[in-house]
């Protein structure tokens, strides 16, 4: 049985981890911490979990965690897990970190995008937690560094075309749109309702942090440097990411060939669906059909006019973009089928 701790329970990904672990047949939440909700029941912070989880929130205590848990999830902002994980090492615990602290293999890149790192030696132990790309390494990992939500939405659709050397590695443009839960539970002026409602807001059109991990992972697949032009926009939904990706093939490609490439790469992957239909309202991926689920839907369209292949991907940032993917990783580390507790469709309509 998996006994899980959630550090950062009061945030949105913490709440989503709790929801998904609650229904997981092989896992139980035995410890949950936050700095500001000590003594409260999880359900008093996350109203949808009321009366379902009879567990009180505590402060972070490594001894108590190693006494009562075998898996520890970090649902904390970057900069936090790097100070806490060293206190949990050598206790036989498996760590699943949802923050950026252990994603980047190059320390200078981490420092450039996020600032100081206090335990770079542990970064080597961490595996980038994108199961569709690193499955075998994840199974053996002590620390799994789960990807950023928009990074997952970018890497997954691009990986097949990069691996098959179909597209130009220096001309990749990702235009991502994300709902408000992507920025976490802590309010700010920009998340205040009068400012956030009704927006289609370009919020980081250049130099977004996720660029670093997208380039890291795609370069590994390409065995060459990949450059990505990434732009993010805030839109007026609570959950969901839609990425529209402009890529430029190095030679002529046909629709049938792209189908073959995507089937070959993802045919066995339970959480990737290729969605590309000729007609109809949902002929390409749409996050509206994925809310609450762990799927990433991927579609494509060839634009012969300019020699472009447009890729479209959609996922729920809190599930396949965060907590669901973290539990998929937990399943792999624990030797379970990766779909355990996760194989259900999204809520529709929402």
């Amino acid at each position: 049985m998996i006994e899980a701790a959630i550090i950062g329970i009061s945030g949105y990904t913490g709440g989503e981890l709790a929801r998904l672990l609650l229904i997981h047949p092989e896992a139980e939440i035995t410890y949950a911490s936050s700095r500001t909700h000590n003594g409260k029941l999880i359900g008093s912070v996350h109203p949808h979990l009321r009366k379902l989880l009879n567990l009180r929130i505590q402060s972070f205590n490594p001894e108590k965690i190693s006494d009562s848990c075998n898996f520890v999830f970090f649902a904390t902002p970057h900069g936090v897990s790097q100070t806490m994980i060293p206190q949990l090492m050598d206790r036989g615990l498996k760590i699943i970190d949802l923050s950026a602290d252990f994603r980047l293999k190059n320390l200078n890149t981490y420092v450039h995008y996020y600032g100081r790192h206090t335990c770079p030696e542990l970064v080597k132990k961490a595996v980038y937690g994108l199961p569709e790309i690193h499955k075998e390494e994840i199974k053996k990992a002590e620390i799994v560094a789960c990807p950023g939500c928009m990074a997952s939405a970018s890497i997954l659709p691009l990986a097949p075309l990069i691996s098959e050397k179909v597209i130009d590695l220096e001309k990749i443009v990702v235009d991502a749109k994300i709902g408000s839960s992507g920025s976490g539970v802590k309010p700010s002026r920009s998340t205040h309702h009068p400012e956030r409602a009704n927006v289609i807001r370009p919020y980081k059109v250049a130099k977004h942090r996720h660029t670093a991990e997208i380039e890291q992972e795609l370069s590994l697949l390409a065995e060459a440097d990949v450059k990505v032009s990434f732009s993010a926009h805030a839109v007026d939904t609570v959950r969901g990411i839609l990425a529209t990706i402009h890529s430029f093939p190095l030679r002529e490609v046909t629709e049938k060939e792209l189908w073959r490439i995507y089937r070959k790469f993802y045919g066995q992957e339970p959480f990737i669906r290729i969605i590309k239909r000729r007609e109809g309202l949902y002929s390409l991926p749409d996050p509206k059909t994925l809310i609450g689920s762990n799927f990433c839907d991927i579609g494509f369209e060839i634009d012969e006019h300019v020699g472009r292949v447009v890729l479209v991907s959609a996922l729920d940032n809190l599930v396949k973009g965060a907590a669901g993917q973290a539990i998929q990783n937990m399943n792999l580390v624990a030797g379970l089928d990766e779909t355990t507790g996760l194989f259900f469709p999204g809520l529709f309509p929402v």
Partner: protein, 60 residues
Amino acid sequence: MAQVFIASCPVCGAEINLTDPVVREVVECSDCGTELEVVEINNDKIVLAEAELEGEDWGQ
């Protein structure tokens, strides 16, 4: 006994299984959703082609 034919979608290449197909029957490809018409059946082979469809226009 029912006869099962295996054909390939002319649009996306998906494998399509058809039981006792008849010429001019229209079937949907489960991968790409294209409406396909059975245009020919001979012995154990069938030929599928895209059925004529009205395109959609979302305006703007």
